[in-house]
Amino acid sequence: MYQYDTLDKEFLADRAAEFREQVGRRLAGEITEDQFKPIRLMNGLYLQLHAYMLRVAIPYGSLNPAQLRVLADIGRTYDKGYGHFTTRQNLQFHWIKLADTPDILDRLAAVDMHAIQTSGNCIRNTTADPYSGATVEEVDDPRVWSEAIRQWSSLHPEFSFLPRKFKIAITGAAKDRTAAKVHDIGLMMRRGRDGTLGFEVIVGGGLGRTPFVGPTIKEFLPANRLVSYLEAVLRVYNRHGRRDNKYKARIKILVSALGAEEFGRQVEEEWAKIGPEGDLPDTEIARIRGAFAPLAFDSLVNRSEAFETAKAADPALARFARNNLREHKRAGYTIIEISLKAIGETPGDATSDQMDVIADLAERYGQGDIRVTHEQNIVLPHVKLDDVPAVHAALAAVGLATPNVNLITDMIACPGLDYCALANARAIPIAQDIARTFADQDRAELIGELKIKISGCINACGHHHVGHIGILGVDKKGEEFYQLTLGGSGAEDAAVGSMLGPALPADRVAPAIDTLVEVYLRERQGQERFLDTFRRTGVVPFKEAVYADAN
């Protein structure tokens, strides 16, 4: 991964020192909570239902073992022995004491980590394909460009008080694992006709109250013009985005009000004024690329006898291999995705002990590289096929070998009413109910790829709009109800799901999902996923079945 130099390290140390001083002023009563709020929100510190929540940035979801061990230890020392990985590829601690936060930030800074811009109306952590640098599918490694954006956006003097928060995602692969089309800016790397590297720029996607799949405003942006173009987009947004209503303040509302074409025109006009002076020098981009520590791959054949033998002897390993491995660009290597969706557990949670095990495995078998996915799993991107049995055994020993990646039990869920002050309903118990309903792995594999996403309120942190099945918690006269949507997708075939019918009480949700799945299994043709079948048949057979049951 990217190696921080002295300058990067001093930047974080200065920032941590600043926050220590600010917390000191708050604890001494020199400033009120009202005055402190904007300060703590610049540092990822939220006041939630029960305690402070600290959101730690994991730039483009990339971690090394030392960093993961520090996160584990922070969880153990200052929280309740676990952390929660988020859809922004970050990590949240939900039980933090204000007085501890300066020490926590110092410990993070010591391993090149921070909580800068994990909250507030600024440019948030850029997310990238968790398989970057490993997948056969990519045009280029998006981490290089994500790191350039991390630096450019850190404490940006002009863009730290935007109308609303701002999120950027980059994918280097056509198969999109970043939900790029529902971001404020989605960047999809392409090769131009002349072979040069560039981005398709999508602006104004988003979820929340008004979901949009973002339109493309530039088909091909030469890669070395990225920073000036981002500056132009941000400046048009900063000047013209709405500030009178926080629910209409995201860039998607501006893009939709102006129309993509007019918005794109304004950006081009501003971009022309900024000119190439606003870009990073090519030498700096090359330096960033060079600062990613080179990996040492052995020359291997793309078949491991040891692995094949172990799979034949161990059905659990074979199942894990079927569902949790992805093709690596180097022969004899694989990408392992570790599911944080063990049946009955909280999606995205990992205990400190589990984090330590993952760190050890990454060090021993994975070239010290660890990724967080926006679907709240962990990835070891570079593991030899020969080593998969050992990694699997070690994961299984700590409950991390759940073989369900991309299956129905691999759900996204926001923290919901159990933690979040904004939520209308609980999300985690719903996810747990569904997981138990589909605990039979054979059946889950028979169903195939099915993405369920659960949000405890309309702010849509659980991305329900883009779930193949989306579940939205609503409050009806003090009772928790759940609105189902079908047909959404956050991938390259992005779409916003459509509502199934009247909201259901909590105990009806898992049975309704079961009914939807039965309809799919009955209706599906060939290799269709749930999403494909739904798109072909439309909502009618699904709706009839669920509400026939309910009556």
Partner: protein, 165 residues
């Protein structure tokens, strides 16, 4: 005479303020004035002819572009923060410096807080009317807290990529 914090050659100090803010419904007073864009457009010509120094107060919705041709005759532009988190002021200040090469004072007025000192200085503000009673020492402390910056801005500080060369 009232004062404001002034940034000069990297030093923050309390400096006397020869300008008087006059709102649109107040009568003009003697001396140097800071007036609204609207008032400047109707009365600026006359005030300048009287030999006064004139500054314009720019509200967030008012675009700095409309001032472009008047900038050479303005002593200062006061960029307003109705709330500390109205980030449009940062773009206005930066464009005044970078795009229009404005050399006069760019003053932060309104809900101006010391926590924002670093950002304000970087986009080109060089005068401040703090709303939180903060001192020049506190501004200097906050503004200089980060030893490094990652992006080009109006303050000409070398960004990280230039420092690395």
């Amino acid at each position: 005479m009232p004062t404001r914090i002034k940034l000069h050659d990297g030093e923050f100090s309390l400096a006397e303020d020869p300008f008087t803010h006059v709102t649109d419904d107040e009568d003009l007073v003697r001396g140097d004035l800071i007036i609204s864009l609207t008032r400047f457009q109707s009365e600026g010509e006359r005030l300048l002819a009287e030999g006064r120094s004139v500054g314009v107060r720019l509200e967030p919705a008012e675009e700095v572009e409309v001032l472009a041709y008047d900038l050479p005759r303005l002593a200062l532009v006061a960029v307003a923060f109705p709330k500390f988190n109205d980030g449009r002021a940062y773009t206005a200040a930066r464009l005044l410096r970078e795009r229009y090469g404005f050399k006069g004072e760019v003053r932060a007025v309104g809900d101006v807080l010391r926590e924002q000192a670093g950002f304000m200085v970087r986009v080109g503000f060089d005068a401040f009317e703090p709303a939180d009673g903060s001192t020049p020492e506190q501004w200097a402390h906050t503004a200089h807290r980060q030893r490094h910056v990652y992006q080009r801005a109006a303050d000409r500080r070398p960004p990280a990529f230039a420092e690395r060369e």
